[in-house]
């Protein structure tokens, strides 16, 4: 049996099984909403399943994190534990990188191979026989089958909203670092200000992104249904946006914990994890800005 001095092995915990039930119920609900919806059946039962699942998830998140936080605060975590968390978080972020890599890969493949082939160039250029009149361009403003997939009229101009967003996110990476330094020097007031600033920047980013989506749908006919350009555009920016929201939540929780007086200049892995995550989200955005918007 582990002891505080060596490595803390927690006792039995109910949270994982609750998390399992919660996650499975939620996803079962989501799947049912989609399937029933597409078959024209009622989705109310599915929504209820989804709702129950989400509630369980929320309960679990509060409970599990609550447990971890109180364990941490009662001094159960040795430096070795801390290293386990660091390894855990780093590899988790690596897995996220690979998740985005799949979507970037799809974007590159479409641009470099699929679309030119369909347009008559390269090794499989004879495919153009099947799509008379289709011309390969990127951004793709005409689709091989314009009836099934009406192409976007225009795309988002990188040098307006996306540029603003880039500035917002890069500065938020900066502010969170300042907050971190302040925490290391036990300057609580400063931590609060800079962390709050980070969260504010994040929220503005999300708002701008939402406005951009609105523009795309309302005025540019740039939608999920507008062919591969829209598909990759929304998948990449959408999943990035979801991660921004998740990161903002993490930062908010950290702010609350700071307000409650948690963390010490030496031990604040929760804070660091959130800021790592935030830097990761920022780096992904830079990739997006270059490959989705500019090029």
């Amino acid at each position: 049996m582990a002891t505080n001095q060596t490595y803390y092995v927690p006792e039995q915990s109910k949270w994982p099984i609750i998390a399992t039930v919660g996650l499975a119920t939620t996803l079962y609900g989501v799947a049912s909403i989609m399937v029933n919806g597409s078959q024209g059946e009622s989705t109310s039962g599915a929504w209820i399943t989804f709702g129950i699942g989400s509630l369980i998830m929320a309960y679990m998140l509060f409970g599990w994190f609550g447990t971890v936080i109180s364990e941490s605060r009662s001094g159960l975590y040795s430096p070795q534990m801390d290293r386990s968390f660091r390894w855990g978080m780093s590899w988790f972020i690596f897995s996220e990188v690979m998740f985005f890599a799949a979507f970037f890969g799809a974007l590159f493949y479409a641009r470099v191979f699929a679309v030119p082939w369909l347009g008559g160039e390269g090794d499989r250029g004879s495919s153009n026989m099947l799509w008379e009149g289709f011309q390969a361009t990127w951004p793709l403003l005409n689709n091989p089958d314009p009836e099934a997939f009406p192409a976007p009229e225009k795309i988002i101009d990188p040098w307006h909203l996306p540029l603003i967003n880039t500035i917002l996110l890069v500065s938020s990476s900066f502010t969170v670092t300042v907050a971190h330094h302040a925490l290391k020097h036990e300057n609580r007031a400063k931590v609060k200000i800079w962390l709050a600033a980070t969260i504010a920047l994040a929220l503005i980013f999300v708002a701008v992104q939402a406005y951009e989506y609105f523009e795309a749908y309302a005025h540019l006919n740039l939608t999920l249904r507008s062919g591969i350009y829209g598909s990759t555009f929304f998948m990449l920016t959408g999943f990035h946006g979801a991660h921004v929201i998740l990161g903002t939540l993490m930062l908010t929780i950290m702010l609350i914990r700071i307000m409650k007086g948690h963390f010490t200049p030496e031990q604040h892995f929760g804070f660091e994890a959130a800021s790592w995550y935030w830097h990761f989200v920022d780096v992904v955005w830079l990739g997006l800005f270059v490959f989705v918007y500019v090029l």
Partner: protein, 374 residues
């Protein structure tokens, strides 16, 4: 050997297998009838023997240890656990062997990819679950459907020699000519394979893959679809008839003429009975795979046509479904696949078969007009 297997089969109650089944004990790949297929066969045999040789060496040492160095024989274990020289050797030697293998493999592959300067171009399109062959230069094309009867598949009658590898209209090609295939698909991915040619190419919907062959000997060559393409993937044979050039020319002339006759059918006057008769045939080859011969379909995936609102009420909706298909569903646009006469026949058939007694008919002319109106 065969007798034994037969007995084993009988023992296990395998009474349904026809007694003169064509079963045999073929162990190896066949060399085939094209340059490519022969090269592949050569490669195959080379690698096979290399692997066998390596296997003999490796397993030889192992079996020697198993027999000679067992504890029960009083063997005392040695203690060595490293030897840089052998370790380097057994890294380098396999590497060299692999490089040697790559040389002929690369040459063959480059040859297989060179589909330039063909004499004949045939577009091969995979459909669920049949092939279409378009002779691009001659401007005709046709479908190739399996002809194996359901009774044979369900073991109600004895299976014939070419069970599952027979079609109504085989692809016909001349020998000694470079034939280029433009392979594509209409719905899902299929794969067109004739083992004797060493040609296998995936048919990807929306894209065209090129491959080619040059056949040495006349004959009938059989293959199958080799990419899982849904329910009847196992029932999608490929049959190619290779004939001498003059025979091929005659066949082409005949095809061009009959394509012309087919077009004339549109203007002919049809009676309900004639359309019904033709329609039944068209239905069974084209539609029964999904909607079933009895019109009951396989809900929820494949709707029943018997009693279907579309099939008995609004004629325009019916025409629309059959001619244009339902996008995003397995229901294809048959307007491109069937002649006006066949379309009229099958629609008429649907509206009158299985108790759908509307008594209504649609003529090829009307179908023609409907198509052109769009």
């Amino acid at each position: 050997m065969r007798v034994h297997a037969k007995r084993a089969g009988a023992l296990l109650g395998a009474s349904l297998v026809s007694s003169q089944a064509m079963a045999d004990w073929t162990l190896n790949m066949a060399p085939g009838v094209t340059g490519t297929s022969n090269e592949i066969y050569g490669l195959h045999m080379t690698i096979l023997w290399i692997c066998v040789a390596i296997g003999i060496v490796v397993f030889g040492v192992m079996f020697w240890s198993i027999f000679a160095h067992r504890k029960s024989k009083g063997s005392k274990p040695a203690h060595f656990h490293e030897n840089t020289v052998v370790e380097i050797l057994w890294t380098i030697i396999p590497f060299v062997i692999l490089v040697l293998m790559c040389i002929p493999a690369t040459a063959t592959l480059m040859d297989m990819y060179d589909s330039e300067e063909s004499d004949i171009d045939i577009k091969v399109t995979g459909y669920q679950w049949k092939w279409k062959y378009d002779y691009i230069n001659e401007e005709f094309g046709y479908f190739s459907n399996t002809t194996t009867p359901q009774d044979e598949i369900y073991n109600r009658v004895e299976k014939n020699e070419h069970y599952l590898r027979e079609v109504d209209n085989p692809m016909v090609v001349p020998v000694d000519k470079k034939i280029r295939f433009l392979v594509t698909a209409n719905d899902v991915i299929h794969s067109w394979w004739v083992p004797a040619f060493g040609v296998k190419k995936d048919a990807i919907p929306g894209f065209i893959n090129e491959t080619w062959t040059r056949i040495d000997e006349p004959g009938i060559y059989r293959g199958q679809c080799t990419e899982l393409c849904g329910r009847l993937h196992g029932f999608m044979p490929v049959v190619v008839k290779a004939v001498p050039q003059d025979e091929y020319d005659a066949w082409v002339a005949e095809q061009v003429a009959s394509a012309e006759r087919e077009r004339e059918l549109t203007s002919k006057d049809w009676t309900l009975a004639e359309l019904m008769e033709r329609g039944e045939g068209v239905y069974n080859t084209n539609c029964a795979a999904c909607h079933q011969a009895n019109g009951e379909g396989m809900p929820p995936t494949f709707p029943a046509l018997k009693g279907s609102r579309i099939a008995i009420e609004d004629m325009n909706a019916h025409l629309d479904v059959v001619v244009n298909g339902v996008s995003g569903s397995p229901m294809q646009a048959f307007g491109e696949q069937l002649s006006e006469a066949d379309l009229a026949a099958v629609i008429t058939y649907e509206r009158n078969a299985w108790g759908n007694d509307t008594g209504e008919m649609v003529t090829p002319k009307e179908v023609f007009d409907y198509k052109n109106k769009e």
